[in-house]
């Protein structure tokens, strides 16, 4: 087999070099390593190109296909633009961890077997935790620990599944499967935890908003989308995914509507958007899988753009709650415009990237005759405009005048936002060149007058609903409980109660023993001991006359002698 080093190693080398290098050299590595990776990604031909022996298996660290290249491309591109956004503001260890994390994502993209997949998968879990920790606050530290526990648990479940599949089928190949037995269910659950599927979705909105303004940009891109890729590779057409996806879509909207923190709104809308992709993978037709892959690509761009604009706001003002923000459009015009472009793209407004990719998923649902699913996805599209398309820019940049007059973005952050904003519009206006890179050839036409009109009606009237219902959406200083309440509070309290019960039983036993011992002591004192007063002697503690003692000794001796002779 031709030796072709995994492109992920270039990015990983970059991550390692960021630490020891200083100044311009470090900046050069930050900017060049992702571009070199991007170049290497496009050198990977189709099929398995690298094999290596590992234990008793032959692993395939590099396997190319259009789908894999598409994901690796956006991961490398994301690392570049994320690096550009962050390199002057982020701490070096956050950059290094972010690049190692991105390298894990590129590695997963080309993993030809389950073992390689698992190694890069765990690499992502480790380094993304470091990115969360780089937020530097006590809240970030605590959220990072919860995040790590969830992902390490997910990793173990995935590992159990992979071991089962390998032992029972004898193959470590990555090939389509359905969740039919214990092994495949474990693999599916392990992947779905990373996709933030229910009931394990809370980690995302818990951890991402606690990271630094630059860290959240990296975090938004990789974990959930590698899970989407893994689902496309391993579980295309798995029916359970359709409803898992619908749940995620609705969950994201409802929780984002309740949320006050701007970055947490965006975090919930990641779950919402990944829900569209998961649902498409469940539908499983070529059109649906194309839609899932295309939407993942477009989503990484506009979601990172949204997190960048929110990141600039946090960086400049130190605030991220809607109740503290508002009116920032006055002094942050570029950030506002880029935020709005990202918001329109996520809402799949015509002429933005979201429209040309998400409509493929709706079309795929129609193609399979899934009317209910189509109607729910359409309602959700309206809901996306509501919770992310308008709510985010409205409460952050417009709304009331918060009195804040922060400066606009620093040049590197501005450049990163402009690149991604341009890509959002480019893919929106000229989708055809982009469609060529999708896994299946397609002659899909994004723009038909009737469809555009339908979506304009749908979205603009959602906008009307938003402004008419504004009084119902007054921001409150609250968070919303999620399934993680079960283990953060209920199990914790139950554990505490159990401990208290055990401690109660323990102290009852202890008190019993103590009472028994002291009553024994009383008995002993009565019969053996003597009390201070020197009068109240116990039976055995009384002084005896010498004569009595001698008599008793004589009796004992005679009994002994008699016994000796008799026996």
């Amino acid at each position: 087999m031709t030796e072709f080093l995994p492109p992920a190693l270039i990015l990983l080398a970059g991550a390692i070099l960021i630490g020891p290098l200083r100044g311009h050299l470090r900046s050069a590595v930050v900017l060049v390593a992702p571009l070199l990776t991007l170049w290497a990604v496009w050198q990977v031909p189709d099929g398995v190109v690298t094999t290596a022996p590992f234990l008793d298996y032959v692993i395939e660290p590099v396997e190319g296909s259009p789908l894999r290249r598409l994901f690796a491309t956006i991961f490398a591109l994301m690392a570049f633009v994320g690096g550009l956004y962050a390199f002057r503001q982020a701490k070096w260890y956050e950059l290094a961890a972010g690049y190692a994390y991105a390298a894990g994502a590129v590695g997963v993209s080309f993993a030809g077997d389950l073992i390689t997949l698992f190694i890069f998968w765990e690499m992502m879990a480790l380094f993304s935790t470091v990115v969360v920790w780089a937020g530097g606050t006590p809240a970030a530290r605590a959220a990072g620990i919860r995040y790590a526990i969830m992902h390490l648990l997910g990793g173990i479940i995935l590992k159990v599944g992979i071991e089962g599949v390998v032992v029972h089928t004898g193959s470590i190949d990555i090939q389509p499967m359905l969740a039919t037995n214990f092994d495949t269910w474990m693999v599916l659950i392990g992947i779905l935890i990373n996709a933030a599927a229910p009931p394990i979705s809370a980690w995302l909105a818990d951890a991402y908003p606690e990271s630094s303004p630059t860290g959240s940009v990296f975090l938004s891109a990789f974990t959930t989308k590698t899970a989407v890729l893994a689902l496309i590779l391993l579980f295309p057409g798995e029916p359970v995914l359709i409803w898992v996806g619908i749940y995620m879509v609705m969950y994201g909207i409802i929780y984002a509507l309740l949320e006050n923190d701007a970055r947490r709104i965006l975090a919930y809308s990641i779950v919402n958007q990944v829900g569209f992709m998961v649902c498409a993978i469940g539908i499983g037709t070529q059109m649906a899988l194309n839609g899932a892959a295309a939407h993942a690509f477009a989503h990484i761009i506009y979601k990172a753009l949204l997190f960048m604009s929110a990141g600039v706001v946090v960086y400049r003002t130190g605030k991220s709650k809607c109740t503290d923000l508002g009116g920032l459009f006055r002094t942050m015009p570029l950030t506002t415009i880029c935020g709005i472009i990202g918001a329109l793209s996520i809402s799949s407004f015509p002429l933005t990237s979201g429209f040309t990719t998400k409509s493929m998923i709706s079309e795929a649902a129609i193609g399979e005759g899934l009317v209910l699913i189509y109607m729910l996805l359409t309602a959700a599209s309206a809901g996306v405009f509501l919770h992310a398309g308008i709510k985010f820019p409205w409460f952050v940049f417009f709304q009331k005048d918060s009195g804040l007059r922060p400066k606009d973005a620093p040049w590197n952050m501005a450049a990163a936002m402009v690149i991604f904003a341009a890509l959002c519009i480019l893919i929106g206006i000229f989708p055809e060149p982009f469609y060529q890179f999708l896994p299946y050839t397609t002659d899909y036409v994004a723009y038909k007058p009737g469809k555009v009109l339908f979506y304009l009606q749908l979205l603009l009237f959602s906008g009307l609903a938003f402004f008419l219902l504004l009084p119902l959406m007054r921001r409150t200083l609250t968070i919303s409980l999620d399934f993680d309440w079960l283990w953060r509070v209920l199990f914790y309290r139950a554990g505490g109660a159990l401990l208290r019960i055990l401690a109660g039983i323990g102290s009852a036993i202890e008190a019993g023993i103590r009472a028994w011992v002291s009553s024994l002591r009383d008995v002993a004192r009565r019969h053996l001991g003597f009390v201070e007063s020197n009068r109240d002697y116990g039976i055995f503690a009384r002084t005896w006359q010498i004569g009595t003692t001698a008599l008793w000794i004589a009796i004992l001796l005679s009994v002994y002698v008699l016994t000796y002779f008799i026996s």
Partner: protein, 89 residues
């Protein structure tokens, strides 16, 4: 443009907000009226009805906001809920 010291932004003036509302209503009417000219292809009977997209989008959003509002009573907690929870013991 710059004569008002604080609320000098065009977007923040009540007169411009009134104008924007008029523009919004106009655009909304236009998207519905356009259906007289441009045919929307329906996939299952009712979705090519006149203004179906408008009504569906509006009602879906109202429903979601109301569901969120209702769930909010159940799920919303003070933002320091978990921190307070940690300090209980």
């Amino acid at each position: 443009m710059n004569d008002l010291p604080k609320d000098d932004a065009w977007l923040a003036r009540p007169s411009s907000i009134r104008l924007l509302w008029k523009v919004l209503w106009g655009v909304l009417a236009l998207t519905v009226a356009a259906q007289l000219v441009i045919k929307i292809k329906g996939y299952f009977g009712i979705d090519d009805w006149f203004a179906f997209g408008a009504v569906y989008g509006f009602l879906a959003c109202v429903a979601m906001v109301l569901v969120a509002k209702g769930l909010g009573y159940l799920l919303k907690r003070d933002e320091n809920y978990y921190a307070a929870e940690d300090e209980r013991d």
